[in-house]
Symmetry: none
Subunit: 145 residues, 4 copies
């Protein structure tokens, strides 16, 4: 499970953490019944304050993706995969919608926006820029890519 945080992104760190874990659940990298890394561990590995991670974890709980197991940690719920898929889609839809709204606000035509989007889609696909990735302990073993 790779976590990738960007400190100079407009989206706050705790939301990035929520997104990363939601995506990991949606992708099947975090299965129901497994424990997500502890707040303190994640904080150390992501080099952020534990409070920031705790905030993300609480949102995940209220999103129904994890549930507290007292004394053990936060466990991925049985309904998590299905919910994560829906939430992942909603997160992306929201981001795309905001971008398109801004495009329309600048009075670009529908065709121009569509063309721009398809161009950017190609560009965003290929070049993975330098990213500070952090390895995190996984529930089930898996080869590093």
């Amino acid at each position: 499970m790779l976590f990738h945080l960007s400190t100079d992104s407009p989206v706050p760190i705790y939301e990035q953490i929520v997104g990363q874990i939601t995506f990991a659940v949606a992708a099947g990298d975090l299965e129901p019944g497994t424990l997500i890394p502890s707040v303190r561990d994640l904080a150390q590995q992501l080099v952020v304050h534990p409070n920031t991670v705790a905030r993300a974890v609480q949102i995940l709980e209220s999103n129904g993706l994890v549930t507290p197991r007292r004394g053990r940690g936060m466990e991925v719920t049985a309904e998590a995969p299905q919910r994560a898929l829906r939430q992942r889609r909603e997160i992306i839809q929201t981001r795309l919608r905001q971008a398109f709204r801004e495009a329309f606000a600048s009075h670009l035509s529908l065709d121009e926006i569509r063309q721009l989007a398809l161009e950017e889609l190609e560009l965003a696909r290929l070049p993975l820029p330098e990213r500070d990735t952090t390895q995190v302990r996984r529930a089930t073993p898996r080869e590093t890519p």
Copy 2:
């Protein structure tokens, strides 16, 4: 000059003002050599705080779209039209690229992302429809175990 400002949009008001004026220049509605209204007048007309307008004008100046004329006000520069066209496009490209990067980070395939984008493009076209969205930080109800 027509302005469409929304106080409850995620994009800040001063950015909306910058965008609207940039668009007007790009569309040829504001030609080089003309004076834009004074900060006070614009603020009164748009019913926003003068500070907000001042901030927008300052950004327009640093973008090279307007330049101060002593005693007369802010004048649209000669290079404004070409710059406005480029800037408008760049802003939108950046936004779209960020959204697509996040989509790829979620391990969706290129095809899925493209489909989502085209769907959202259609939806974003409609003027602020009432839609039931979920954001990252927003919670969904959960059953008691």
Copy 3:
């Protein structure tokens, strides 16, 4: 002795253990002079951590329901039955009083609260039905403006 422990109940496990044993004493299932199982045995039987059982036993001792007998274990005291009856009642009274205080703080009328209480009493009787509840800290979706 039958135990009904729930790891995902809001009431902590050690309190559940205290409650169950207190009930058993109140009901006459555990008579004065009998020995309760050792911490190790109870922990094994209940599949909980020995520390948790130890904590429960310590509370039972401070409640005067059991007393240590050197080399034999914890013995149910002579006064246990009467105390258990009183304690059980007091605990419940306290909980109910707190809940009612909060209800009054919300400016509901006495009649409304009574009706709510009687409804909930019926519902609480059923064994953990699946209900769609909203808690204070839980969010409800909101439309985009």
Copy 4:
């Protein structure tokens, strides 16, 4: 608008604040369109840290009771009264249900619990114990009780 916090209650301060404001909206003391007190003001008046109040306000926002008005504060939404009524009811139901569940867990009979509840309801009604109330600025004037 009277706020009443208890620092030695099992329910956390931020939840108490959420409850108090939700109740105020439900009771009509906070009408749609008015601004709730600012985070800093409320914190000062309740003698808690601004972060604690901010947490409560964010929950109120995600509950759809208030919405941010940039630069002005948090405004009570148009749908707030109806939502507050429902949420108030749910908060109280949750608390009562937990209390009753505990009563059943102690194997009291339905009749015994009902009788206990009705007794406690009477007791909780009358004696308002010493409470540290804090006056908070209101939107519309109102005589002190």
